[in-house]
Each structure stands twice: as structure tokens, then as C-alpha cells.
Symmetry: C2
Subunit: 351 residues, 2 copies
């Protein structure tokens, strides 16, 4: 029995989460376990009711469950709120409060969709790497910070334990992937905080002598992802570099609407699609539910240690794609377009 | 009469600078002006003689000339020196001492080379934008900075005048380019220093009401360069974001070995190819001199205000390419390969 907090959120969030819950229901029946779903408000949906994007009640619920499933937050409607009331602030608070120090984002090219990348097919086909982004430290949270009339300032800082735990997680994951190569990305030729990051990653690496570790500067890494993405297997990097690199990595796959993510800590975990709330198509049954459905698969891999359930979900997704099912975002010109619910049904039918 | 300090530097630096000086000589003859070239050591070449990558003598020379032409610095040989003796430290010191607060990097796709991009031809063909990267501020120079056993830290800070002058430069350039659109890139949804950056850019924008200004978050911008590079005309951004974005922008053109750069301040200017010293092919007459030759063209545009000379150089480069001249880095499989000197001669012949 798994207790899951579901946060549909804003925009297309409710539609894609509904799709993911249908799939969750299907795998539960097939594999014979129970799921308890508790729904909570977050983001604009919460603000409109409670005047706060993240209430204590939602936060407590997220702390008292086995995993959180999030749709998307934000939208035009809440863009002009003061800084500390915006969805971004709530998201950062949620990450920090739950201790979600690692953000895992796969960059995987689906064979059926290889032509939708802006990169040449021969460059991207077969790309399949995982980005480990540090999520509760670095310049996102460093003090002092602020701005006045004369200047603005932020602090990029990493403590030993912050680097150790994310490095260890990345190496452990690499171990499970047949000792995949780990690329640690920093700017150690200019930044002391990066030199520190690099030193600690190498210390942790001593416990994983069978794994190859490569250091790469962030400017070069950004180029290499575009030049030859297949060279990467596991990437580990800090918060802001990871923000940038994981987005490029997703983009080159040509399947942004397909990519899931996991944000994990030592006690809690949250799963969500990497795409946003897409207010322009919200409520129209047009959104692609696959990224959220794949996020459920990541939940079974990471939080519940049931890779066989995850495998079933991935196979159902690939089956639906192979059968030609396409939402608008991934359809080639002239291809028939399925709705959110049709895509969901096609995947559920294959579980 | 122009006084130019030439710094061949390390690796392929001397070969590509020789090519650029030959072109400089040719345009001087054609347009009837004189150039005085003073050669100086910098980087590893300087370290091997003086035990310092940047001597006071070289620095003084750079301060007392009309423009500096730099080849490339660094190489395996000097990689294990202590941090403060490395080529990177010398480069940062040179930028700071000369007050080179703006780094201009064009991302231009040459029609003749469009197929060498890893992006699809229809995505990149026609791409032609300019990146203005702030070069003497931000996290590269902010205090406090350092690391010890327990943590590492750097400070990202921008002062009003630092943002003002680079924003103004970018808008003025955009004005000359038929009021091109300016995209300012930051991370204002998370960083106060970015919110400050954004505020100041908008203040400066009030003096350029005819120019469209777009704000974009750095993670999205990195994706957009890969998704649809043609949407950009002028980009302006801070030091570290510019480091990353200008490298991606160069890479997607498929012509890294072709791209020049200008680093300019209110009193001094330095021109150099964006590629590195490529020690593996140094001294073999294989390097592509075009990026350095195009850097001379930028010198005439920016420092000497002689666009007609620059136009001659660009036309000669395109002429040589159209005639099928290719160094190894830009040759298609099976295409005949020219040496550095052959490519140089082909360009000189077209001046
Ligand atoms: C919305 C923003 C605060 C957030 C981030 O920068 O972390 C987003 O870009 C992400 O990657 O999840
Ligand atoms: C070598 C390094 C210090 C430098 C930088 O980061 O500025 C380089 O990447 C560049 O872009 O010129």
C-alpha cells in the first residue's frame, strides 16, 4: 500500500495528473497493490483559495506520504505577484522543506520521435543519459543575497555534505547502470566554489573506483550536449548549472513534453513532468500526459524499488507511440492527433 | 596609421595570427593606410621565458595601442600550474586591467557550411545574431570568494554602472542593425542580482524606445538557442550566463573554427578567435585561420569605424569558401583539404 499525495496544480496540471492516476490505478490492479491518493492544492490553485501558493497543510501532507506527484504550477494570472508570493518561491520552499537535494532528469530520445529533434537524427538517436542536478543549495539558496538601488548580489556556496550526498547518489546510480561514466560539470577554472565541488566529487569517487569520472567545464559541457549528446551517461552538477544543462539536454531529445523528473531527498520524493503549466492549452484535452505518466514510472523505480512496475509503464508508453498515437506536441505534420484522454486510454490499455 | 599589438600566444596561435597579419597587410595596401605591428608574449609562451603568463611589459603594450590581436593561450604543458599562475588567471587579469567589459560574439551560420552543424539545416540556415557578454563583473570577479576544507563560495554581484554600460552598448549596436530586437537573459525569478540586472536594462531601454526588448530566463534561453536560433538578433547577458550561452550559440552554427570575437572597453579593445590553442595540431599548418582573420574584420568595424574594410575581409572569406577552400575542421568527408597558409593565400588573393 502506497500513500501518494497528488498535486494537480495549474494549467494543464489537472489533465496530465488525471492521466497519470489512471495509469497508476491500472498498474496497481495488475501488480496487486493498493494506492491511497490524497489530493492537495499548490501554486495558483492554492493562492486563489488561501492567498498562499503553499499552505502548511499541503506541506505537512507532502511530508507524510510515500511520494508526491505534481502536475505543473504557475500561469499568466499569477505572474505579477510580488517575488515572495510567486509560484517560483513556493516551489523553492517546497524543495527545501522536503530536503529534495537531488533532481534527476533523464534525457532520452524515443526512437519513434527522433525526427522531432532540431538536431540531426544521427546525432541524437540512441541518446540516453541522466542528469543529477543539486537542488537545495548553491546560488539558489546562498546568503547573503539582495538588491538595492546601487547593486544586486547573490552567493554561490556549497558545503561538503551537500556535494558528498549528490555525488554519492550519482555514483550509486551509475553503478546500477553497468558502471556508467559520470561527468561532473563545474567552472573550476574560474570559481573557487567549483574547485571545492570538484575536490569533493573526486573524494567520493574513491569509493567507486570501477566508475570512470570525467570533469568538464560548464561552457564546454553545454556545447558538447549539442555536439555529441551520446558521449554522456550520467551528469552530476550544481543547482544553476543543472538548471541550464538539464533544459538543453531535454530540448535536444525533441521530446520535452515526454520527459519526467524525480526530486529526491533522504526522506521525501516528488515526481513531476519537466514541462510547465501551458495555460494556453489548459482545459482543452490537448496536453501530452506521457511526461507525467513516466514520472509515475520513476516513482516506482526510485521510491518503491519496483523496477518491474516501471518497466510495464515504459513499455505501455512505447507501445502507444509505436501504434502511432500522438498528441499535438509530438505529431508530425499530417499525422492524426490524439487527445489527452485518448493517449491515456491507449497507455492504460497496454498495461 | 594603426598601432596593433599582436599576441600569437600558444599552440596554433602563431599560425592563425600569421594568417590574420597577412590579411591585415593586404587591406592596408588596398585601402592605403599604415599599420604598425608590435609583437608580445602572453600565456605559456610568456611563462616559459619570464615565469609569468602576463608580464607588466605586455600589459603596458596592450594599454598603449589601438587594438590587440590575440591568437590563443594555454595547453597541456601549463595545465598543472597553481591556480593563480594558469593561463585563465592571466586572461582574467588582462580583461580586468584593460577594462574590457563587453565581449561581442557573433553567431553566424555560413551558407557554405550549413551542413556542418549538428542541427538540421532548415533550423540554423540564416542564423545571424550577436551575443553581448558582460566580461569584467559578475561571479567571475565578485568578492568574497574562496574555499576551505568545509565549503566553497563565490559572489555574483553587479553594480549599476556595470549593467548600464553593457546594456547601452547592446542597444546602440541593435540600433545600427535596423533596430534589431534585444533579448536580455537572466534568472530574475530566482536571483536578486538578476532582478537588479533586469531593472537596469529596462531603465537603459527607455533611451531606445524604438527597440524591442525581451527578457528571457537563462534556462529557457539555452533551450531556445537550440530550438529556434533564428529568433535572436542581439543577446545581452552577464558574465557566466554569457560564457555558457555564447559557446552554445557558436556550436549550433557548426563553424566554431570560423567565429571571431571582440572584447571592448571604453579605452581598449582586444580581438581573438573563439577557438582555443588546439595543441594537438599546433605547428602542422592545419589550423583554420578564418576566425582570426574575421577578428581583424571586427577590429575595423569596432575600433577603427571602417566598415568598408571589414566588408572586404568578410567578402574575401566568403569568396574563398565559395571556391571550395576548406581546412580540415570544416571539410565535408571526401572534400580536398587546404593548409593554413593555402587558406590564407586564397583570402589574401580576394582582397
Ligand atoms: C521555475 C524555476 C524556479 C525552476 C528552477 O530554476 O529551478 C525551474 O526552472 C526548474 O528547473 O525547475
Ligand atoms: C578560459 C576561461 C577563463 C574563459 C572564460 O570563462 O571566460 C573562456 O571560457 C572564455 O569564454 O573566454
Amino acid at each position: 500500500m502506497y500513500k501518494i499525495v497528488s498535486i494537480p496544480g495549474d494549467g494543464i496540471g489537472p489533465e496530465v495528473v488525471a492521466g497519470a492516476l489512471a495509469v497508476l490505478d491500472a498498474v496497481a490492479k495488475k501488480h496487486g497493490f493498493e494506492v491511497e491518493i490524497e489530493e492537495h492544492l499548490f501554486g495558483g490553485a492554492s493562492y486563489d483559495v488561501h492567498g498562499s501558493m503553499l499552505t502548511d497543510e499541503t506541506l505537512e501532507a507532502c511530508k507524510n506520504c510515500d511520494a508526491v506527484l505534481l502536475g505543473a504550477v504557475g500561469g499568466y494570472k499569477w505572474e505579477n505577484l510580488p517575488h515572495d508570493k510567486k509560484p517560483e518561491a513556493a516551489l523553492l520552499k517546497l524543495r527545501k522543506e522536503l530536503g529534495l537535494f537531488a533532481n534527476l532528469r533523464p534525457a532520452k530520445v524515443y526512437d519513434a520521435l527522433v525526427s522531432s529533434s532540431t538536431l540531426k537524427s544521427e546525432v541524437v538517436q540512441g541518446t540516453d543519459f541522466m542528469v543529477f542536478r543539486e537542488l537545495t543549495g548553491g546560488i539558489y539558496f546562498g546568503q547573503p543575497r539582495g538588491y538595492d538601488e546601487a547593486r544586486g548580489w547573490n552567493t554561490m556556496v556549497y558545503e561538503r555534505h551537500e556535494v558528498e550526498r549528490i555525488a554519492r547518489l550519482a555514483f550509486e546510480y551509475a553503478q546500477k547502470r553497468d558502471n556508467a561514466k559520470v561527468t561532473s560539470i563545474d567552472k573550476a577554472n574560474v570559481l573557487e566554489v567549483s574547485q571545492f565541488w570538484r575536490n569533493i566529487v573526486h573524494e567520493v569517487h574513491q569509493d567507486f573506483p570501477e566508475i570512470e569520472l570525467v570533469d568538464m567545464y560548464v561552457d564546454n559541457a553545454a556545447m558538447q550536449v549539442v555536439r555529441n549528446p551520446k558521449q554522456f551517461e550520467v551528469i552530476v552538477t550544481g543547482n544553476i548549472f543543472g538548471d541550464i544543462l538539464s533544459d538543453i539536454s531535454g530540448m535536444i531529445t525533441g521530446s520535452l513534453g515526454m520527459l519526467p523528473s524525480a526530486s529526491v531527498g533522504s526522506e521525501h520524493a516528488l515526481y513531476e513532468p519537466i514541462h510547465g503549466s501551458a495555460p494556453d492549452i489548459a482545459g482543452q484535452n490537448k496536453a501530452n500526459p506521457i511526461a507525467t505518466i513516466a514520472s509515475v514510472a520513476m516513482m516506482f523505480e526510485n521510491s518503491f524499488n519496483r523496477p518491474e512496475v516501471a518497466a510495464d509503464i515504459y513499455a505501455a508508453i512505447e507501445g502507444a507511440l509505436a501504434a502511432g498515437m500522438r498528441t499535438g506536441d509530438i505529431a508530425a505534420p499530417g499525422q492524426a492527433i490524439s487527445s489527452t484522454t485518448e493517449m491515456t486510454e491507449a497507455i492504460v490499455a497496454r498495461i
